[in-house]
């Protein structure tokens, strides 16, 4: 029993590494986090513009980035949502379940 502490710790480290992945996984997550920030900025701007055109006295600032800064692909913009291609779409959706659905943020 006393010697189980070492293999138990090694097992936990292994399980942890299995879940978090390696350095490339981490970089992919960081790219997705940046994509999400860009998507949020675009969504906020479009929502603001919609309200300004509806008569609200808002200043919406400059038009934000509307393309993926890593792949240069344009974000998909519709009347109701803005979407991007995430590398880890499942993880992103899991981390932000109330905000991201199928790679898209709904416009208010």
């Amino acid at each position: 029993m006393s010697r189980l502490l070492l293999p138990f710790t090694v097992l936990m480290i292994g399980l942890g590494l299995w879940q978090v992945g390696g350095p490339e996984q981490a970089r992919s997550e960081q790219r997705d986090a940046q994509r999400l920030n860009d998507l949020r900025a675009l969504a906020a701007y479009l929502t603001c513009e919609k309200m300004r055109k509806g008569g609200a006295d808002f200043i919406c600032g400059t038009y934000p980035r509307d393309t993926d800064r890593f792949t240069q692909q344009p974000f998909t913009v519709t009347q109701t949502q803005v979407c991007a291609e995430f590398e880890q779409s499942d993880r992103t959706a899991h981390r932000f379940p109330d905000e991201v659905e199928n790679g898209c943020i709904r416009l208010d």
């Binding site: 006393s2 010697r3 138990f8 710790t9 936990m12 480290i13 590494l17 978090v20 997550e29 981390r95």
Partner: protein
């Protein structure tokens, strides 16, 4: 020798704390509780930190343990050295406190209705780790 046991104590505390932290994050990922916000993959940063600490602290602890064992084989009288006894006793004390804390947490959770699978898994992890540490240090303190 005081430095050796002091470092060993700190290394062990570091290993056990980060084992608990990593274990809790993994449990929350695998057994999400819908009553609370799903942090899930949002804890990846915390898990990576725990793994990094364990990768460094575990070999340090093992190395210090080997050094202590070698010192003991050179001078068996070390087994009764006051600092060694204190180090072992403090470690056992904290482990028993952890077990008692886990017992209190279970009773409290039962009273407040939050005895979920996730909660029980976390308690089991704390109990398991406390028992492993107690077993390790029983050998550490035991007479040959």
């Amino acid at each position: 020798m005081p430095c050796l046991y002091g470092l060993m104590f700190v290394a062990l505390l570091t290993v056990t704390y980060n084992l608990i932290d990593l274990g809790f994050n993994l449990i929350e990922l695998w057994l999400p509780d819908p009553l609370y916000s799903e942090r899930g993959f949002g804890n990846l940063g915390a898990m990576r930190w725990s793994i990094a600490v364990l990768v460094v602290a575990l070999p340090v602890f093992l190395w210090l343990d080997r050094r202590a064992a070698r010192a003991l084989s050179d001078d068996p009288g070390q087994r009764r050295a006051p600092l060694r006894q204190k180090f072992g006793a403090m470690t056992l004390f904290l482990s028993v406190l952890a077990l008692l804390g886990a017992a209190v947490a279970v009773v409290y959770a039962g009273l407040t209705g939050v005895v979920t699978t996730q909660f029980l898994a976390k308690v089991a992890l704390v109990v398991l780790l406390a028992l492993l540490v107690i077993a390790w240090f029983r050998d550490f303190l035991a007479e040959p």
